[in-house]
Symmetry: C2
Subunit: 411 residues, 2 copies
């Protein structure tokens, strides 16, 4: 597809289906400088859809890296008032929040990782209304991606810069179903395809999930909280407005019980955390807690991540993606969670989802934890799905419910 046409269709899809933007609603966009040509199309689509105002928070990775390099750790432990006001006021005004990810996977390589970690913690504390608005179904949020030169170069290291970017645009266009006659209608069909399996899992009264993969050695049992909810595909605000938190999305996910995980899980794809790579790693859990971990590359990255807070050593998410996922079908490693997490089954250390628990949207952190949903300043996905993965549901009475066999759905 011709690039200008692809970008225009993409911008329209994001505003219409991703954000479901309503007349009179404000919109906050986070974007890298280099995605400006696409951002402008999104801003125009938003205004044409009736946005009351659009604020673009531009980010430059090079100056961001300088900020982290030159500013002392102390500076990262609180959020300047204006940055908190920008986000919190937007949430209170009912704004929608769009993040256009194009990050260079290595943007922060070499930066003292305590700084971005401190910043993430400070943001979650000082911008609580903003995060709560998204977590509790009051504000629409949507994360999408657009190519940048550095990101494209990482995925296609053998292509010239311009060709790498053009190729990534075409890949994204395909994964975003922009070649469908009506991409928004294609996404609605996609949304419905998730509903049957979510309904089955939500009605199955499972007490735990058992994962096994002979090829990697994974053998892990994860408990589910009472009143668990499987989510995925599309989401809904509390008032019923549909939106897509992630585009693309191929996963059905829940929040496992933070006190109930036992066994070992081995990674099946590398992990890129704040620009640092972790490869061939495993976690051993006992009573929900990581008690041991290994990594061929980047063990120290895991060490720091696990130290963030007490929630960082426990699970917050379990997501099921069949090996037929179109993202797996590209055969690419994207070095970007938005894509890679949709290529294979994954777990996440750190924060769970209030939307994945009955009544969770009305609960505060203490209540969520009391009901089994983990809380943390971090949320780090890692892929463990393999073509030979089995997933079996276990009811309280011990009966088993086959869910995945050989990496594919059997429900």
């Amino acid at each position: 597809m011709e690039l200008q046409n692809l970008m225009a269709r993409y911008a329209h899809l994001v505003v219409e289906s991703g954000l479901h933007l309503k007349k009179g609603q404000p919109l906050l966009i986070h974007a890298l400088l280099e995605t400006a040509p696409f951002v402008r199309l999104v801003v125009r689509e938003a205004y044409e859809a009736g946005a009351s105002r659009v604020e673009v928070v531009w980010r430059d990775e090079e100056t961001a890296r300088m900020d982290y390099t030159y500013q002392p750790l102390d500076n990262w432990q609180q959020v300047p008032a204006w940055q908190a006001a920008l986000r919190n006021d937007m949430a209170k005004a009912g704004g929608a929040i769009l993040t256009i990810d194009a990050a260079d996977p290595e943007a922060l390589t070499g930066v003292d990782p305590r700084k971005p970690a401190a910043w993430a913690k400070a943001m979650h504390r000082d911008c609580k209304p903003y995060y709560d608005g998204m977590d509790k179904g009051e504000n629409i949020w949507c994360i999408i991606a657009a190519p940048s030169e550095k990101w494209a170069a990482r995925i296609f290291p053998d292509l010239p810069a311009e060709e790498a970017v053009a190729t990534l645009w075409q890949v994204i266009g395909k994964l975003m179903r922009l070649d469908a006659e009506d991409p928004s209608a294609a996404w609605e069909a996609h949304r419905r395809s998730f509903e049957e399996r979510k309904a089955f899992l939500n009605g199955a009264q499972l007490d735990a999930l058992h994962f096994t993969s002979a090829s990697t050695g994974t053998d892990l049992t994860v408990g589910l909280p009472q009143g668990y909810i499987w989510a995925g595909g599309g989401a809904e605000l509390q008032d019923g407005t549909p939106f897509f938190p992630n585009m693309p999305t191929e996963e059905i996910f829940c929040s496992p019980h933070w006190e109930r995980a036992d066994g070992v899980v081995h990674s099946s794809l590398p992990l890129c955390h704040n620009g640092e790579m972790v490869e061939d790693f495993s976690f051993t859990f006992r009573d929900g807690k990581v008690v041991d971990y290994t990594a061929r590359v980047g063990k120290e990255v895991l060490a720091r991540l696990l130290e963030t807070d007490e929630g960082a050593v426990r699970l917050g998410e379990c997501a099921l993606i069949p090996k037929e996922s179109p993202i797996a079908g590209t055969g690419l490693l994207f070095y970007n969670t938005l894509f890679d997490e949709n290529a294979a089954c994954h777990l996440a250390l750190g924060a769970g989802f209030s939307e994945c628990l009955e009544g969770g949207l009305e609960m505060d952190d203490d209540q969520l934890k009391a009901h089994g949903v983990n809380c943390s300043a971090v949320h780090m996905d890692f892929m463990f799905g393999t073509p030979d993965l089995s997933v079996t549901g276990i009811r309280k009475d011990g009966t088993q419910v086959p869910i995945f066999r050989d990496g594919s759905w059997v429900i």
Copy 2:
């Protein structure tokens, strides 16, 4: 000069001489997206000089234009809390403020001019600590320019885009004295060259200035307030820290008495206001107030400008620039006040300068007005200098002091 070298010398000069940045001081930068490669050099120089943090407020002219187009007038009548906090907190923290101008002169053509006017008014009201910090000698501020494609295309309409930008870089490099062995030393020498004339004018006990130009028909007498101060070249904070508010700068200026201007003044260069052109215009003053005006092009632009507030129809600045100015020497019309105001003598309608009155830095608006210095939300420079301009100082006793003859200094 090779571009990368030119930009590096420029960034160093701006941080060292323009901003006189001190260790531990924060810096706020306003810049257009397309100047990012230069901005990054400035940010690095600032951190190397010890900046405690650098905030870059990126602006995109295309989305800014959409904001003005789609958002109703009401939205422009108050500044969002975060925008005010960003500026006011930076001022209170003693931050320096750098504006890197690269504006497309036509960026806002066709936009309802009441919107930018309302915004300017709201900014001055809601960001008062920020503007006061700069006006009252507490915060260093510096305005410089960097090429953008659209701006360069306006100056060099016959050159291909890339060549126009490259040419403008070289012109700016020359006007910024970057070809000097030590540009900062060259700027210190430039600063000293202003001091003698400022001392003469400040000691001359003038009561008024009389401007005549046979070629345009200008014949205007402008009163000076008691305790007037001529400023120009470099400036100083109240604590004595030197800086350059404008780079380049070739002007010596004062604030005339807002109640005392009589006669007619004719423009000698076009004016570009918020992207709209005004050409071949004149103002007739009586008792300090514009009582008539003409314009061959853009009279309605002047009409709206004069309606902003009661200070907009009175003078706030009178600046003297000899015809030998290197900016005049380029023979270019820059469509940008920072340059064009340094090409010829000019006046400004709107706000005067508290620094141009003895004790003015400690005065509030009412006190400034009581002493003769104009107050307004606007400050609009227009050029009236010609090669045959005479400027004569008049003392209270009627004696005359020749200042300019045939467009050149005679003091």
